[in-house]
Symmetry: C2
Subunit: 459 residues, 2 copies
């Protein structure tokens, strides 16, 4: 009945609208609200379908984004990817409701894209804050050496092989090659731990090494991203700059961890002092956003700051309650990131029927091979553990995910990655994530699937 009412009344709206181009604010809000509805529908339908057929929901959110975005339905398109107002189905709907001049349309379209992009960026900041908050620095120290060596090999091999291969086989320039190589490095903690818990192997020795390595991997990946993104910005490789970035990124993260115990107490003290609503979550966001701002300001990445903030607060007594409260906020904002990443990709640049696309397609196949082999070898980096399931560890490290997508998004935004390379990275993330769960089940043999609730960050 409500929909019938809406349908009945909407046609009246243009008759009532006498002003044109006077005030865009209500139209920008309307465009953002419609975008959010589309994003949420795409993320939920994609996520649920993905879960139904046994894949991680985050994969479905990404594919949902591809479906509603520039590749297919054009419901959600962005000016920064070169789309114009007339390409957007949302703008067409708004134009039909309240006719605007084409300049007015362009301005509303521009603003809507900007707002949704910032919301997506806040979403990924919250995601990395949540990952930091759920990382257990102490638990990590137990798996120790094994996880560290697996992580280092798993970063070095794909990065080296990917960058070198792109430069020597495909004549890709240095900066894009380094960026694409870097995008191959980070294993997804969320996807990996989710799959392990689904097959009941989270607590096994292999499972612990995989998760430990994935955590270190993510940290290394974020440092690599910070270094590479900054290189992409300045456009040249300046050794002094590289040293500055590695030192500052490492100091930033280690400083945050060391600072944990000190900051800890003042955070808990402040939160206990406050008696009004949001007494826990607002100080936490002030800290996370401030760290994100500092990360951005010292030419690293905002997400590195948010991750460091999460690691610091992970050590507080309030961690559990805070995590509980951050969850709904993450549920609201994180899908905006995943769906936007999918929506901004134009998969048509990989259409094999168009001859000039074929090189991009071959690059994509190359990246996927490097991504798989580069992580598989990590199983053989484990030492002093006779009888360990090396295949399982290697396969467990294969899924990329959040961080890989962050690489693709930042690379595209900074101009370092052209469209075929960006699409190739997204395809690589999607395929590695698709392939890992069934092969991981195979590698572990017939493990009874337990329903564990851990590691549900990507659930």
């Amino acid at each position: 009945m409500m929909n019938a009412l809406g349908t009945l009344l909407i046609p009246l709206a243009p008759l009532l609208a006498t002003e044109v181009d006077v005030d865009h604010a209500p139209l920008v809000l309307a465009a953002v609200l419609l975008s959010l509805v589309i994003i949420y529908l795409a993320s939920k339908i994609g996520g649920e379908l993905s879960r139904l057929i046994g894949f991680p929901p985050v994969l479905g959110e990404l594919i949902g984004g591809v479906v509603v975005g520039a590749s297919a339905l054009h419901l959600l398109v962005f000016p920064e990817s070169g789309a114009i107002s007339a390409d957007s189905v949302i703008m067409t709907i708004l134009h039909w409701m309240s006719p605007l001049t084409s300049e007015g349309m362009a301005s509303v379209f521009e603003s809507q894209g900007e707002v949704v992009s910032v919301l997506a960026e806040i979403g990924v900041i919250i995601l990395l804050f949540e990952i930091g908050l759920e990382s257990d620095v102490k638990e990590l120290q137990k798996v120790g050496d094994q996880a560290a060596i697996v992580a280092c090999v798993g970063v070095a091999v794909p990065f080296g092989a990917g960058t070198a291969g792109l430069m020597y086989f495909f004549n890709v320039p240095t900066i894009p090659a380094i960026f694409a190589g870097a995008a191959l490095t980070a294993t997804s903690i969320g996807i990996t731990s989710k799959v392990l818990s689904e097959i009941g192997q989270l607590k096994s020795k292999e499972g612990q090494i995989i998760v430990g390595a994935a955590v270190i991997d993510d940290i290394l990946g974020i440092i690599v991203l910070a270094v590479v993104a900054s290189l992409a910005k300045t456009g040249e490789i300046d050794i002094l700059n590289v040293v500055y970035l590695i030192v500052s990124a490492t100091a930033f993260l280690l400083g945050a961890i060391l600072l944990g115990n000190v900051f800890n107490k003042s955070f808990v003290f402040t939160a206990n002092l406050l008696k009004t609503r949001g007494n826990l979550i607002i100080p936490a966001f002030v800290f996370a956003f401030l760290m994100a701002f500092i990360g951005n300001a010292i030419h690293l990445e905002a997400i590195l700051g948010a991750f460091a903030a999460g690691l610091v607060l992970e050590e507080t007594d309030e961690r559990k309650e805070l995590d509980e409260q951050v969850k709904p906020v993450a549920d609201m904002l994180v899908p905006i990131f995943f769906v936007s990443v999918g929506a901004k990709v134009d998969l048509s640049v990989l259409n094999p029927l168009v001859p000039e696309n074929r090189e991009g397609l071959i690059i994509a196949i190359f990246l996927i091979l490097v991504a798989i082999v580069g992580k598989l070898v990590t199983g053989w980096a484990v030492f002093g553990q006779p009888g360990i399931n090396r295949w399982a560890i290697g396969i467990g490290m294969i899924p990329r995910g959040e961080v890989g997508l962050v690489f693709a998004a930042i690379g595209a935004a900074s101009g370092a990655l052209n469209k075929p390379l960006q699409a190739a990275i997204i395809i690589m993330v999607i395929l590695t994530t698709f392939l890992s769960p069934p092969f991981l089940r195979l590698a572990f043999g017939k493990a009874s699937p337990e329903a564990e609730s851990q590691g549900d960050i990507a659930q």
Copy 2:
């Protein structure tokens, strides 16, 4: 140590920045992050100080906004209020970190203002959704007639007296006079029920009538706002339009309530079907944002749609869990609204030392008198209740709040309210909210202050 690190490294940043005006996106994100940090600090410091001296926290958030905004510190200023980039302390900081051309600065400043404004609007949408979710349609039916008559008198008298007084004594044009009169109507459910629970009178007969009337009042207020805001947009009073708006606003709200029982089951069914994260909150937001979009599309207000969505979901079995999950999201987004409203006001237009300000000041005093007297008389509208505390009811209806601020914000955005009138309304909201708690305590006599946890929407 982290701060020391930041301070140490920030001066290096300009040296490392070689590109100028190439890509604004990271700067817009940095500006938004800094804005959020300032907003949260202002809201928490203001809210806590307000609570400490016995006033509702929302008042402190508003005053915190005034302090960081256009009236004082200029940390948070908006292009739409006529500020330029150089007026903004945030932009000055960003400019110092990465030098930009003045056009680049203006564009980043514009985008930042737009993003923060949309975040504030999403905040007020979530607030009204939450108020709807916490309204109890069935509880309301018990207090019934008494509350309804109090509400109607409390809307009609201030609206009539305010509008007529402004037009005949001060020669204010019709549309602004109607807008300012409408801003006098809505009692704040949040503030009122918070104060009543603080003095242990929430369950008394007077308390129940006040809360019931405040709920009806808020609904009437939102309908009045929808009608008035639309009048302000078209700039003229068209009887057909007024009838259309009253009918559509009423149909929209009543339709939503009647729809409740039907929609109820399909919502619970959908939420139970979903197994991935956000299975409750995402469908709820899809519904709320879609209703907000429809409210906006049929030329009512987005918040009316959000409120209706809240009323519908209030009747579902999942209400309690949903409310639990919406709280942190509201904690994060609602302060952006209150602080922004405060920040956009320029109180200097009421400075009595400037001669041309005096008329605005006299208007403010007039509005405050009408706001107080117009609600005080509602106590005498109660019938068939011998011995009822009429003063207490009248005083209990005085605090304006959220909805009054929404009026001021929408009025200013639509251009219907000039700066002195808008400032006068904000002063009216602040003063009525300041005055009510002590007098309410006085009217109820020496009631033992119980610590109740109800009605903590404004806590």
